[in-house]
Assembly symmetry: C4
């Protein structure tokens, strides 16, 4: 077994960081969740000019503290995982790295234009929340219902696009650039805005014929909104009664989370699992 080769403190650390069953693991997860949410709020408020002017130094200190904490966590994760390379190049490994880098780089580079894009990378931490949330049973059911209806929803969206191309082009020919429908792509944009019942109102049909067609587009949109609902509804009812044999642990080897409790091997690194 892989587990015996590691020193004891590594095993303990692993349990705290990757486990979700032990009290220490739960405390760690919740602390992490709070830290991530706090850091996201900081990043968001920093972008508000009036706030940034007032509390610049507070934001700066907060961000440095969080960045250093996440960096320590990143290093600990690498240390206690059996196959560090697998973790580093996994999706969450890259997210963990990318979201800590911007602050360090801001130390060297001062080009503000480039930095503002780079800073946004810190928001990648949001994905970490998604990972923590995945352990909640309900979201697994939701994800499964969505995954099962994936192909149908894709085809539905495709139909919406085709309809929008046809009707958008017709609207472009009817209304023309003088009424705000400047080009076919923009008319298609307007058509999707209308079809999805968003209706910004920045572009609106001015001619009588255009308004009649717009009416038809709206009613089509109103009617076909039923389609994805019907699909997910049927799919959700189907998955509802199935017993959710989902697991709440992650692979000790590479840190990939294990979705099904009856899995004997990690689906990513092939490591034989504890419960097998």
């Amino acid at each position: 077994m892989n587990m015996q080769q590691k020193p004891n403190w590594k095993n303990k650390l692993h349990e705290v960081i990757y486990g979700t069953h032990t009290p220490a693991g739960k405390v760690f997860d919740i602390t992490l969740l709070i830290a991530i949410i706090y850091s996201i709020i900081i990043v968001m408020l920093e972008s508000v000019e009036s706030f940034d002017e007032k509390y610049h130094s507070f934001f700066n200190i907060s961000e440095w503290t969080i960045t250093i904490l996440f960096s320590i966590e990143y290093i600990l994760r690498i240390i206690c995982v059996n196959q560090p390379k697998k973790y580093i190049f996994s999706f969450y490994g890259i997210v963990d790295l990318l979201s800590t880098l911007p602050k360090y780089i801001s130390f060297f580079i001062l080009d503000s234009q480039f930095l503002s894009v780079f800073r946004a990378l810190r928001l990648l931490r949001v994905f970490r929340i998604l990972k923590l949330i995945r352990f909640v049973g309900e979201s697994n059911k939701l994800i499964r219902a969505l995954r099962n209806s994936r192909s149908k929803i894709f085809i539905f969206i495709f139909f919406v696009f085709i309809i929008s191309i046809i009707l958008g082009t017709v609207m472009y020919l009817i209304e023309g650039p003088e009424n705000g429908f400047k080009s076919i792509p923009q008319s298609i944009y307007w058509c999707i805005v209308t079809l999805t019942t968003v209706g910004f109102g920045d572009i609106t049909p001015q001619t009588a014929v255009g308004q009649v067609l717009a009416t038809i587009i709206m009613i089509i949109g109103y009617g076909i909104i039923a389609v994805p609902t019907g699909i997910v509804s049927a799919e959700y009812t189907a998955t509802k009664d199935k017993t959710s044999n989902t697991s709440n642990s992650s692979c000790p080897n590479c840190g990939t989370d294990i979705v099904f409790s009856d899995a004997s091997y990690c689906r990513r690194c092939g490591n034989k699992l504890h419960n097998a």
Copy 2:
């Protein structure tokens, strides 16, 4: 039994105020409903400047009459309940008190800024309607379906937030402050406006790339609106056939309403119930 310790008139009053089975109790409830709706309309119209100028004295007299009536009702409720303290500190007890206070306080304080906020407290009476409505069988079913799908809808809303944070930030980077996307929080606000298909149109993407991303956001929103529908639909179908063993009375001790007819003890004060 608690009931024998009260004088007869208290018991009768209790039946009228808290009961819903006797004709007198029904008349009381309907009178209360009308009084509440009347008072809400008065509060709303008062806030319209042109109305307030014209009918100021009428609004004033109406409000005084209603306030005094509700005060009497409040005192009677305290008198005829067995455990007045429990009632006073219950949610509806506080609502009853808070919604009568503003008029009395307006007698002493004249700071209009503070008063306008305080006056709005009178609208808390709306919750009383909710309480009266709870006795209708249909709404119980609705509430139960919503309660059962609570955790799923919460997770769904959480996903919507995460998506909005990610896409809102990307929109902020694409469009920037010069096109109305002034900060990340405002971009997230715009993203939720678009994702929920509300589409105010106060902020709209101006660049081609922004419009393409907006299109994708709209279609995502249009597609995922199916998810809560599917959840509630499945939940509602499940609760539909169950016999609704709901009760229409309230605890004689503390005034809490009894939801399930097979309850033997009040879930709030533990009083042994009549029908037990």
Copy 3:
């Protein structure tokens, strides 16, 4: 039997006007449908100023022709029905009268302000289409599903109103008249516009706190749109499989249409029916 007391031509006329089974009856119904749609289009186009100026005399002649035709039809209906009074004071009898009157009255009164309101009465003919459509089996199922979920949808709408009153008032206190939220009723109006995901954009929150609350309102609206859908969906599935024993005829006595084929007596005038 009532039928024998009428002369033969009256019976024949009755069959044509009220019946839907004979070829003559079907031709009559379709002719009527076309005449109604034509007359509705005329009324609508008349209100467009530029059209009215150009084709005033054409609209006038068309309207006179239609009005006279409908008047003849109205008189024939009275003649061939057994209980003319019942028909005259029935909903459709009043609709038939009111929709022909405006043109005759326009002959005597020339006050244009009053006339424009009066002319709109001609659009009441739209209800006639609804009557003709009722004979289509599908719409009966739709109406039944809607009728069965009536009380639930009513309670749902009531909840939406309560939520709008509470959130609208809070928005009024947050944003205030200086940001377009002029009064509590207008804030409630805005709240419903947002909650139903219509989102006109004529009033939009300007403060940060207002935008956060607006976000919450939108997500609530996005979430609870699922409720009526779930209700109707469940109800529609329930009524779907039931055999629709709907009738396609109307009472020979008073002209009320008979919805259920196993009805032995007219539900309005109590006349014993043919098929009984």
Copy 4:
């Protein structure tokens, strides 16, 4: 059998162009799909003035290449089909011809106004994608669910129209031309915009009564959006479990695609099929 009368190369060509089972047929279909999508993007970008100015010659060459390729494909299709006339006058035959013609005609005619309408014909190629997509099993189920609920959705849309005519007229009478409701058709247009929860915001009610009615319209719209969803949902659940016995081939005689795998004769030209 028809097949033996054709020379061998025609049979092979037929298999490549019309077949979807052989590797060559699949490659042909995917190549076609890419060519169509590429040509659609070109047509769309051409309409953006700034792009057209920069890349005019590139667009021109691309369009000529695509047009010539599609022309060759069109001729090959005619050659290898047994009944060329049937193909030429079929829907897809006309689409194939119309979408290649504009480029050739642009050679002779230079009137830009006329050309811009004519050029849009090239977007008809979009329908070709729909044809290719039809072979995907999921879309067949979707189409069948939509087809089954066609009549119900039609009646639903009809109800929406009737409601819009009535409420639109009332809004016209309440608000009048001075508040943007210039005519009855435009008020109906506004009513549909509101009822379908699109809400452009180009026309909004200004009077208190108008806003109250608008509120009612929105809530009606919010409530009845449930109806088509319920219909499609119920229909989709019903068609979900049925085994989809759909075919993936097309008639060798006239090129019509065969939807059901148990079909023995082409539903268009009556040709006895291979698998019969």
